[in-house]
Amino acid sequence: MTTFRAGFALPLEELRDEMDRLWSSLTAAPPLHGWGVRGDAAAFPAVNVRESDQAITVEAELPGLDTGDVDITVSGEELVLKGKRPAPDQGVEPQISEDGGTVTWHRRERGFGGFERRIPLPTLVDAAGVTARLADGVLTVTCPKAAEAQPRRVEVRSA
């Protein structure tokens, strides 16, 4: 079975082919735009959503982004993730190496650029109670369900 992982990785079955192709193809590798080699095939970022009685948890993989690079808004039954990953050759390092030569890119598989993803939520959530955590490139947004959307236990009164 081929496991698809939008934008970030290829299944191991392709490793052998990859190894064979690798060094010979380095000079011919074209620059990639968007998010990763398969980034066009799916919305970015890919999300996993879980639902418990109390909350909706949305998880997204955003490697390389800092907390300030992600903008999270919740309105009604929709969560919006917005952000930008800078191009790898911007800002961090000069394109001229210290020995005077230019930098040669052999591979550019990691995507970059802006993104906006709207994720429909299954219930109303308490927008004021939404919390988000970005750790090791994984964003976890916890949206507590609105009081009216939480399951409520109804006591049966005896007459």
Partner: protein
Amino acid sequence: MTTQIQTTTAETPPTGAPPAATSQPAQTVREITYQPNVDIRDRGSEVVFDADIPGAQAEGIDVTFEEGVLAVQVSVPARDLPGRPIRQEYGIGNYRRSFRLGEGFDASQITADYRRGVLTIRVPRLAAVRPRKVEVRAG
């Protein structure tokens, strides 16, 4: 010869004591192994690899350089989130990828740094094989 490269994070200095053993990955995802996307740039004096491996922790990252092959193997701890899945767009698994670099690199000076889900490996060339600009003298 195998060279084991210590992976450091922004929080732990390269030569410092290991972080407190509170963040030991309890359970490792074994079912799927992914090949991470990489950027590779050759800066003359060194070749730099950037790999997207979100969800990993420095102690689960294994970087080796053996007979000219740089190998990265990452054990990703399971993520424990409450509730039942209602939308599943990506899988969580380990990462593995290797690259044949060949000769002329200084294995003892390779560094690996993990920050914000991105692993950066710097493989310096031996001084003897670095590109060198030769001044042409007149006269």
